[in-house]
Amino acid sequence: MRKMQKAGARAKAQGSHGAVQSGSMAGDQQKGEGLGLAGAHRIPLQERKATERRSSKAADTSDMSFEELLELQSRGGPKACKQLAGRSAPKQSPRQPVCVADKHRPLEMSAKVRVPFLRQVVPISKKVARDPRFDDLSGEYNPEIFDKTYQFLNDIRAKEKVLVKKQLKKRRSGEEREKLQQLLRRMEQQETAQQERKQQQEQRLALKQERRALAQQGHRPYFLKKSEQRQLALAEKFKELKRSKKLESFLSRKRRRNAGKDRKHLPLSN
């Protein structure tokens, strides 16, 4: 049993069609230019199209200029003539975009594309993993709103702290005790950090309200400089230390650290 050569090697025909198209830079307007029409000889586009439609399959040589004819000859073949003179509408490729008016027509596709063995019977959507920390959908982080909405977590944290303390009481020594101690320390530090944040927020709020009151009275709003803010914070800190009687130890530690730092800047004495 032998394999027959199919009558109509479409590839060849398409190839020649493509070659002519590329040569004349696909498009009717540019076709004129590609054919080397001299400026004076340029036939208006509508007229040219009309003549193309009216002409028979064989090339209508009466309309063409000498340059066009030379081009024809160089391209060669009746195929080239047909492209130029005969068909106005190229053969429709099976893969045409479907316009809305044709949406009731059956889909036309190529019959030579091999179909993969597995096909999707049920549409499966891939699960997209979202990180709420970096996702736009989570919105911007606003600490005040965050604290307000997640207030209930403070109770849970307190309960957990109590639990950890209980556990600590049970275990007197060993690795587990150390771990628990670390955990407890962490929790306490988190708590203090939260308290600090809260205090700062309150301060900022107070300042804001002051400013608003002044502005209402008629004064211009005054914004503190960074140095002034630091001074205020320092003053607050001193007050707090004095209240808790840790001022002396804090100051001595500060002096020691500063001394060490200053020693670095002194010239090296050999």
Partner: protein, 433 residues
């Protein structure tokens, strides 16, 4: 004087004369499908003209005949020739149905020879029997071949799923589950060729009318084109996404396939190497038949029967549960439609299932409606239905099991070929007072 005579072509044109020979060679160059159609149409017109002139008739009468025939052919080509036959059909009496018994297992497929004189039937026992329509006797039997025989098999060794006969009655093609297509000479039932190439069971076969071109499809999802007279393979087409269940073709170089679980019906335009995709059934599309060049009817295993037109991707008419429901109350399932057939260029459609009847339908105006006409009682799985070319009778291949498997077995049924005569009532007189 070296003056050029007025008859000589101008020097700028003289090199164009070789183009004339090129134009002659144009015919040898590859043609586009439209040009090929044009050339073939012209040939056909010439043939018609010659035929008519040979007859010893008056010239005017001859021209009328030619015009009439041409008109009919044009309508047939465009799929608009439709003779309203369905209204005149009368349901035959059960005693008129001739039952031809001879197969041992369920009949899977059958074909009628174009001259309506013989019927070929194939069954699950891997035999093919040629019956005579007039006498009802077996003319020939192609027995089962043993598996693993050396050389060319002169028979099938697995279930024969499909058969086709060429329109001149010369070649018979049969395809089976062992991926083979066997070509037989219809008259003598001599085995001629074997076509191998399919990678799974061959499920559909059809000859193109007026030619020896054979289209085949298989459970390997491909459609292959062969030439039976020249014993050659032409090409393969792809597109289906699941095993193909059936195939049919008329005189265009087009075939239509029923896609089974794929859920699509595809029309394959072979010269353009493209396919049209239609969808609309919910179940597995098991059978399909062309009514004319532009319309087809298909049946699915959810009991639905659909009429299709080539310009619309959804069915023109859809009849759900065409053969009713069966099962326990609350768990009812529709009867699977196991075969469909249509009388060429008319509006008569027949469908078969296993609810003990063959149902005849009438297609409405423009194939937009499907109305039931009558039922012909026939017990068993109607695995195959075929109308004769003149529309005189309908042949049904009946089995105890479905042609593709053994889901059910109807013990009361007989594995047989049933010839159902279709009588046409004369036109009813206009009702007077």
């Amino acid at each position: 004087m070296s003056g050029t005579s007025p008859l000589d072509p101008a020097p700028s044109f003289h090199s164009l004369t070789p183009r004339k020979t090129e134009e002659e060679e144009e015919e040898e160059l590859e043609e586009t499908p439209q040009e090929k159609k044009l050339r073939l149409a012209k040939l056909y017109l010439e043939q018609l003209r010659q035929q008519e002139e040979e007859k010893a008739e008056a010239r005017e009468f001859e021209e009328d005949q030619v015009a009439g025939r041409l008109k009919e052919d044009v309508l047939e080509q465009r799929g608009r020739l439709q003779k309203s036959v369905a209204k005149e059909i009368q349901a035959p009496a059960p005693t008129d149905i001739r039952v031809l018994r001879g197969h041992q297992l369920s009949i899977t497929c059958l074909v009628i020879t174009p001259d309506d004189l013989a019927i070929f039937s194939a069954a699950k026992d891997c035999t093919i029997i040629k019956w005579s329509v007039e006498t009802g006797r077996k003319l020939r039997v192609i027995p089962r071949a043993k598996k693993g025989t050396q050389g060319q098999p002169s028979g099938h060794s697995s279930h024969i799923l499909c058969m086709a006969i060429s329109s001149d009655g010369k070649y018979l093609a049969s395809g089976d589950r062992s991926k083979l297509i066997l070509i037989w000479e219809a008259q003598s039932c001599q085995h001629l060729y074997t076509f191998t190439g399919h990678r799974d069971a061959v499920s559909g076969l059809a000859f193109r009318r007026g030619t020896h071109q054979l289209y085949s499809t298989s459970h390997d999802r491909s459609v292959k084109v062969w030439n039976a007279a020249e014993n050659s393979y032409v090409e393969t087409l792809f597109g289906h996404q699941d095993a193909v269940a059936a195939l049919d073709a008329l005189s265009r170089e087009c075939c239509v396939t029923a896609g089974g679980r794929d859920g699509t019906v595809r029309v394959w335009k072979i010269p353009e190497e493209s396919q049209l995709v239609f969808y609309g059934h919910q179940g597995s599309i098991d059978c399909i038949h062309l009514i004319n060049e532009e319309h087809m009817v298909s049946g699915a295993d959810d009991g639905s029967v659909a009429l299709w037109g080539l310009s619309k991707k959804r069915p023109l008419a859809l009849q759900r549960e065409a053969h009713g429901l069966h099962g326990e109350p609350g768990l009812e399932q529709p009867y699977w439609v196991s075969s469909v057939a249509a009388l060429l260029n008319t509006d008569l459609v027949a469908t078969g299932s296993h609810n003990a009847c063959v149902r005849l339908w009438q297609c409405g105006e423009g194939f937009r409606q499907l109305d039931p006409l009558c039922d012909i009682p026939l017990v068993g799985f109607i695995n195959s239905l075929k109308f004769s070319s003149a529309g005189d009778f309908l042949v049904a291949g009946v089995g105890q099991e479905h042609r593709l498997g053994r889901w059910w077995r109807i013990k009361e049924a007989r594995n047989s070929v049933c010839i159902i005569p279709l009588r046409r009532a004369p036109a009813a007189p206009v009702a007077g007072s």
